[in-house]
Each structure stands twice: as C-alpha cells, then as structure tokens.
C-alpha cells in the first residue's frame, strides 16, 4: 500500500477554503520575526499596551507627544508586539502508518499540508519533520504563501520508512527544536512507549495538538478464523482465533487505550483529536478541527 506521490494533495477549491482558516493559539508565544501573532513582548502594532518612562537610548519616535504636552515628561507608548510563530508539524511516517484503507500516511500528509498551508497563509513559519528510521527528513522555516510549494513538495516526497521509534524521535525533536510554538503531531501512536513520546514533547512549551490517525481496519477489524498476525514494523507474529468474542475484547482494549491517551493528554494540556481515515480529510478539517478549537 504505497502511495502515488504525484497525486496532488489538495485541489484549489479546498485551498481557498483553507485560506479562511487560521490556527488558534491559546497563549501568546515568543517569536523571532515580526508577524501576525500576539507576542508576550511589546512591539509596534496598532494595539495599545502600556506607557513607560523614557530612558536614554529609546527610540524617540515612540515618545507620546500628547502626554508630554500634558505632563512635560517623556513617556513611551508601548504597543502589543505581533510576531510570527513557528508551527511545528510532526508527521509519523513509520511503517505502521503505511497501512490501512484509506491509507494512514496519505491522510497524515494531507493533514500536515493543510496545517502547513493555514499556518503559511497567516504569515507563520512552518517546520515539517518526518521521523522514521531511514526516511526521516525535515523542512525548516518556510514562510509566507510562497513557502506552500516547497512544503507540498516535501510532503509529497515523503516515503514510509521502517520501524520508527516514536519516543526517541520525539525526545530528539524536543531537544533540538528552536522557537517552541504550536506543534501538530500526526501519528497512529502504535508504539508501546507513546507516553514517553508525549511526555518528551510536553517538556518544552509547545502547544501540542495530537491528531491520532487510525484506519477503519484497526478500529473495527473484520477478521473471522485463525490468523497469524504479522507486525508491519517489527515482523513479530501474534496468533489469534478471531471470533466475535475476540473482536469484542479487541475493541474494548482499543477503547481503553484511546481513553488512556485522552486522559494523558488532558492532564498535560494536549489537544487530542481522534480521526478515522474513513472520514474525508476536508470534512475532518473543516468541521471536526474547527469544533475542537484547533482552527478558527
């Protein structure tokens, strides 16, 4: 189940719809360059923030002359600084993502592209990182609408890798990332150490959104009979006899697992969104993510 990379990620009609969206952040974040995001710093914009007495070396253009006329002392008028943010897109392209119908990695790609495009259209900086052994890659710091093409090209080139270690990859990323900002992790989280991975990301002030992608075949397996299940990443085998009881127990486990993730995320301020790849990407973005407050 490999994808055809030449297939366009979106059509233009959907991109126009994406133009109307904006990534929501819950708190102000520090950036490097001026942008459209509220920053905790003071800067030049139209939104008034505070006054401050003039000290030597301040830009005299920012002195509030009206106030000087009244008080005969120099005050600087401070405005809310608006800076750009770095939106971190993390795409899990391990072998387990190369599965499912509709394909999980394709889904993750298109989601990442949508997030990236929305971020670029609001003048944010976007960094895309794929982590899988052998097929990892990073696209750093694309900015502005012009960055959309390299972003899409990067995502289309993305190939599924081998066995990925989600936890290690996340730790590495948390160590190396600069300018923590909104972080979107698109993964199926099928890794026994998923908690470590989320904990590692949570150690930096990222505003994490976890898009948990599962294929319908994982949510509702249609198996009947005796099977030897082979792990796509490790090649490990598990023998099962699938009957209704087994499948029911599987679904119970699945639900417990999803609830555990949700609890974990809730405790750490991570926005957790589940998605079934059977749901069209467009619909998911335009309704579900808006409803969950990820987009505006």
């Amino acid at each position: 189940m490999t994808t055809t990379s030449s297939q366009p990620l979106f059509d233009s009609a959907f991109l126009r719809k994406l133009d109307r969206l904006a990534l929501l952040t819950r708190r102000a974040m520090v950036g490097d360059f001026q942008g459209e995001r509220r920053s905790p710093r003071r800067g030049s914009s139209v939104e008034f923030a505070d006054f401050r007495p003039y000290v030597r070396g301040d830009d005299i253009r920012q002195i509030d002359w009206n106030l000087y006329a009244r008080m005969e002392r120099f005050f600087l008028k401070l405005f809310v600084a608006e800076e750009e943010l770095t939106v971190h897109l993390l795409v899990d392209n391990s072998a387990s993502m190369d599965w499912g119908d509709p394909h999980k990695l394709t889904y993750a790609r298109r989601l990442a592209a949508a997030f990236g495009y929305v971020a670029l259209s609001t003048l944010d900086r976007v960094t895309v990182t794929a982590f899988a052994a052998g097929a990892g890659g990073q696209l750093r710091g694309v900015r502005g609408k012009a960055g959309a093409l390299p972003l899409f090209a990067f995502l289309q080139r993305l190939q599924p890798g081998g066995a990925g270690n989600l936890a290690d990859a996340c730790k590495r990323y948390a160590r190396t990332a600069i300018n923590p900002g909104p972080l979107i992790l698109c993964s199926d989280l099928l890794d026994p150490r998923w908690e470590d991975a989320l904990r590692a990301l949570g150690s930096r002030p990222f505003e994490i959104t976890l898009i948990h992608i599962l294929a319908p075949q994982e949510l509702r397996p249609q198996l009947d009979g005796d099977f030897r299940l082979l792990d796509a990443e490790t090649g490990e085998a598990v023998e099962i006899t699938a009957d209704l009881e087994t499948l029911q127990r599987y679904q119970e486990h699945l639900r417990e697992w999803q609830e555990a993730i949700e609890r974990f995320c809730h405790g750490r301020g991570i926005t957790y969104v589940q998605v079934d790849t059977a749901q069209p990407v467009e619909e998911f973005i335009l309704t579900m993510l808006r409803r969950r407050g990820v987009f505006r």
């Binding site: 198996l223 082979l230 598990v238 099962i240 006899t241």
Partner: protein, 644 residues
C-alpha cells in the same frame, strides 16, 4: 446389546484418523499483515490467562465431528436389544377392542396400551416384513391387510376404536390368522388383549402365537342388570350391581328418574365369587317414569371400568303388541301371553279378513287359513299345508333335541334359557318347509320347531299341539312364548327394550308411517331404515337410552324407548389373564408370553442423535456469525423499545 453388522465399526477406524489428520493440516493459520500487533498483543496476554479452555474450545469441532462419526458408525453397526416381541417376518396382530379394554388401570386405557404395544411390534418388524392387523370385539375388522407400509400400519393401529358391543371373540380372527399363516412361512401371531376373550378349541394355528397381556387390576363394580316393569303401584325398578373385584367395596348407587335424582343407596359388595358380591335394589317408582338411570358413584382406584357403572332402563308401559290367536281356544297360550307385559291378545275363531288392520302377530292354533294375513305368523300343529310349508304326516312320540346347527353355534334367541330335551310329546305333525326355515328343534328326523323369514315377515312353526305335550307344564313354556313374541315382535316383550351395544334396533312400524327417527343418547337424531314393515337402526354403539319416533306427515304417532346397556359379565370381569390357551401346530397349547425374541433396533435413535450433533457442530462452527446476529437482534429490539 448386540450388533447386527459389527464390521461397520471398522469404518470409524478408517475415517476417524482421516478427520484428525485433516484437522492437523487445517490448523496452519492464515498469515495477515497488520499495521501493528501492539493492540493484539495486549489482548492475547489477557486471553492467555485461560489458555487451556481456549485450546479446548478450538477443538470443539474436532470433538463433535469424532462424536458424529462414532454415532454414525454405531448406527451402521445396527445395535439392538432383545425385548419381548416378535421375530417373524409375517406378523398378524390381533388387537382386542372389546368393552373390557376400556379399563383405565393402564393409563390412559388398556386399548391405548394395546395400541402402543402394537406399534412397538410394528417397529420390531424387519425391513420388508408384512403385517396384518385385526381388531376383535364386536364385529371383527381387518384394519390392515398384509401390508408392508409402516405408515399404513400405524394409521390402522390408530384407527382402532373401542367396540362395546359383543364379546371379544377370537375364533374368527384366529381362523383368518391360521389361513394367513399357512400361506407364508415365518409367520407369527401376536394377540394383544387383556385375556377376556373367547378362544376356540378346534383351531391349530400353524405359527407361533404370542400373547401380550394388557392390564393389571381386576377391581370393578358393574351394574349387571336393570329393568323397569309395570308393577302393582305404578312401575317397579330393578337394579342389580355386581362386584367383580377381589376385595369388598362400598359403593353408592344413585337412581335417576327421567333425569332427576330419585334416590341413593349405599351398597356393601363382597368380593367376586362371594354370595354378597351381588346386590339388588328393587324400588317402586311412579307409573309416568319413562327412563330410569342407575349410576355407581365414581371411585377411581377401586373401579377401573367406568363404562359399566351406568345403566338405563326404559318403561315398557306404552309399548303394546297386538296378538291375535286364531283357533279353538287355548288356555295355556292365553295365560302365557297374559303374563307378558305389553301384550294385547285377542281371540278369533277364523281369520277375519275385514277392513281393520292385521295385528302384528297372528297365532294359528291347530288351524291353517286359506289366505295368510299380513304380519308375522305362528303356526302351532298346523293341520294342513299352506303355501309356506307342507304337512306330510304325523310323528308319534318324537324325541326332542336341539338341531345340530343349534348345538354348534350359539343358542338362537328363540331357545335362549330353554332346554327342550325334557319335553315329552305325544304326537307331532311332520312338516316340510322351504329353504327359508331353519330347524331349531327336531324330533326323530322331523323338525319340531322352525323359524325363519319369508317375504319380509317372520314365521315360527311349532309342530305339535300344546295339549299333546307336557311343554305347557314346564318352566320352559312361558320363556319360549316370551322368546317367540320377542322374535316376532322385536322391541316388545320382557327384554325387548334392553339391548346390547351393536345389536340392531328393530321396531314394527305401521305401513302408514313415513319416517322413523332415532334420537340417540348423545342427542343426535338419525333416520332409521324402513324395510318390510320394520324400522331397523344399527348404530347402537353408544350406551344409553334411545328414543324411536314414528312419524306420519311430520306428526309423531308413536314413541318407543330402548336402553342399550353393557350387561356382559365377561367384559365386566376385567381381571387380566396372564396366559392364553391357543393350540398351535407346533404342539404348544399355550400362547407364548414374555419371551425375549424381539429385536429392538436403536439405529434410528443413533441416526437422530447424529443429526443433532451435526446441527450442534454447525452452530459451533457459525458461532461468531450467530453471536453477531444475536447482538444485532438485541440492539434492534433495544432500539425499538427505546423508540416505544
């Protein structure tokens, strides 16, 4: 238990390993690539806690299939048990359906038990075996004649109904069985009865006769006689109850007059055979009573034959028979006739052929008319020939004895309770009658008493004059007269209104009568046939009072009542006989009871069990689909309940 074809078990030895081998081959699992075994591993860890059970469940199908194989192999081996039953290929089943088979000591009834026994015998019949099923009791009936069709046999067995009329008489049935058995080798006769049957002594059955006794208890109290007669004060009711059981019992006897309770008596009845086993109740009842009914109070556990606990008697007060005596006058005859209830005797010196209707019975005493009147006729010592018979001379001192045909068969109704051998006769006419007449008593080669039917009327000829014999001085005389009147005017006389089940009702009817209706005890109305001045109704199979109405132009002109009662001591004595004496060609004098020769094959049961196992196996195989279906149904129902 033994096996008919033990070699069939080898099939299990061959097929069994095959099934196991196929199982081992099949146990290789289908491989399937999944995104991750992460979730599955978690689940399998959970399941492995009860792994032995899991492994066992996986082999359910194997167990079931081996069980199925075992059952089929056993069925092929045809195991059987030895039972009491039959071993022949041509089976003649004689089922007793006489009144005593209604006894309820074997629930629900002896007849039902006999039917079941017959079905068991049919089950034991080997493939291709034939069976003839004969029902005795009342009219013998061959319900299934030499058939190989089991369904037909079962239907025939089911169709056998109780026949309360007549005794269970095996002579006809055994004669037929003898004829059938002689035709085919390997025949067997099975008699299913309670033993209360008449068995002929002159038959030798050329086959094994097996007797399957039915019934366990002997306790029974019956109303053995009942009559309603004109008495000094209105009418006298006479009821006799008899205990046929081995122990003394106390029973209540309820008397109903025209449907209303009249009186009740407590009867202490001694055991069968004791002097006090019979109790008689004689009571005066009003003259206008038409139907009297006697009922013994129900006593389950003490009385196993309910059908003889009820009896009916009807008043004969309104039943008149007109008798004309033509002759010089006969005091004996007149006195005897006067004693009979309901008889109006008139005297005449000659046959007056006037406009008035001829009487029902005309007695010609020592005269013979030129022209014979209508109605039934009695000739006593006719002096000359008529067109019915010819008088050829005189016999002096004939020695009377019953005719051979009378000796062979049962006593004809005319000679009931009469012994003629003690009668001395001085002189009798030598009479030669046509084929219609049957000689009942003969003397020195000449018929002394003849009876028969000709041109639709009954004729009795007594060859000697009463004055020329000592017959009128004997006890037999009034009985003979009563019998003669009873024969000539059925439905009159002492016992006329009492008949046994199955006996046809015959009533002399006026030629002007257009229709005769019979109202049965159950209220049903049926039409009787009118033939030769008599209305005949044969459907007297139910016990109880019958009402016969003669109608002319929709107007009832005459009513007669009859009571049909089961006054048969042989049937009321329900004690089952454990053995039956049936002489056989093999020299055996006794029917064989309880010999273990029957083969009760059980392969059908095994095959049925195999079908069951197949169904279970299929259900186990489809269990997940079924469970899914069940869940769907449950969800749908729950949704509907929520919606409602």
């Amino acid at each position: 238990m033994s096996l008919l074809t033990p070699l069939a078990l080898l099939s299990a030895l061959i097929v069994g390993p095959l099934i196991v081998a196929m199982y081992l081959l099949k146990l290789r699992r289908e491989e399937r690539r999944v995104s991750s075994t992460f979730l599955w591993r978690r689940m399998v860890r959970d399941v492995e806690a009860n792994a032995p059970w899991q492994r066992l469940r996986r082999n359910w199908l194997l167990f079931l299939q081996l069980l199925l194989l075992l059952l089929l192999a056993m069925a092929l081996a045809r195991p059987f048990f030895l039972t009491t039953g039959i071993s022949g290929r041509n089976l003649i089943i004689i089922i007793d359906r006489s009144a005593s088979m209604a006894a309820t000591d074997v629930p629900p009834s002896r007849l039902e038990a006999a039917r079941r026994q017959a079905q068991t015998l049919v089950d034991q019949l080997p493939e291709g075996g034939r069976a003839t099923i004969i029902a005795v009791g009342g009219q013998m009936e061959v319900v299934a004649a030499s058939t190989t069709d089991r369904r037909q046999m079962y239907d025939a067995i089911r169709s056998i109904r109780l026949s309360v009329g007549g005794r269970g008489d095996l002579s006809q049935a055994l004669a037929l069985a003898t004829a059938l058995a002689a035709r085919e080798p390997d025949s067997e006769v099975a008699i299913i009865s309670d033993g209360n049957v008449e068995i002929p002594t002159d038959i030798r059955v050329p086959a094994t006769v097996r007797y399957f006794p039915i019934g366990q208890r002997a306790e029974n109290v019956a109303i053995s006689a009942m009559a309603l007669q004109p008495g000094p004060a209105g009418q006298t009711l006479f009821v006799q109850a008899t205990n046929y059981g081995p122990a003394s019992v106390v029973r209540r006897l309820d008397l109903y007059l025209d449907g209303a309770l009249f009186n009740a008596y407590e009867l202490n009845l001694g055991p069968d055979g004791a002097a006090d086993a019979v109790r008689t109740v004689i009571v005066d009842v009003p003259a206008q009573v038409r139907v009297a009914e006697a009922r013994l109070s129900p006593a389950p556990g003490v009385d196993f034959l309910p059908s003889d606990d009820r009896a009916w008697a009807v008043s004969s007060a309104d039943a008149g028979v007109e008798v004309r005596i033509v002759g010089p006058g006969n005091r004996f005859l007149e006195t005897a006739l006067a004693l009979l209830p309901g008889i109006t005797a008139t005297k005449a010196t000659t046959t007056t052929v006037s406009g008035e209707a001829a009487p029902q019975i005309t007695i010609f005493d020592r005269v013979a008319p030129e022209t014979l009147p209508a109605g039934n006729l009695v000739f006593i010592a006719p002096m000359r020939s008529t067109n019915l018979f010819s008088v050829t001379g005189v016999v002096d001192f004939p020695l009377l004895r019953p005719a051979p045909i009378v000796l062979e068969g049962q006593a004809p109704p005319l000679l009931r309770n009469i012994s003629v051998s003690e009668v001395n006769v001085l002189r009798a006419m030598r009479i030669e009658a046509g084929m219609w007449a049957r000689t009942l008593v003969e003397g020195d080669g000449s018929p002394m008493l003849l009876a028969g039917e000709r041109e639709g009327r009954r004729i009795v000829i007594l060859a000697f004059a009463l004055q020329d014999s000592d017959l009128p001085l004997q006890v037999a005389f009034p009985l003979l007269i009563s019998n003669i009147i009873g024969y000539l005017a059925p439905g009159s006389g002492l016992e006329a209104s009492q008949i046994v089940p199955g006996q046809p009702l015959a009533v002399a009817v006026d030629p002007a009568v257009t229709a005769v209706r019979v109202i049965r005890p159950d209220g049903r109305v049926e039409a009787a046939q009118i033939q030769g001045g008599q209305a005949i109704y044969a459907g007297t199979d139910a016990l109880g009072p019958y009402l016969i109405e003669q109608a002319r132009d929709n107007q009832v002109i005459d009513q007669r009542r009859f009571a049909v009662n089961l006054f048969t001591p042989e049937e009321s004595r329900i004690a089952p006989a454990s053995e039956l004496r049936v002489p056989q060609v093999s020299g055996l004098q006794q029917a064989v009871t309880r010999e273990q020769v029957g083969r009760q094959e059980i392969w059908r049961w095994l095959a049925a069990a195999a079908i069951l196992v197949i169904i279970i196996e299929w259900l186990v195989y489809q269990r997940s689909g079924l469970a899914y279906l069940w869940q769907r149904i449950r969800l749908t129902l729950a949704a509907r309940r929520r919606a409602a």
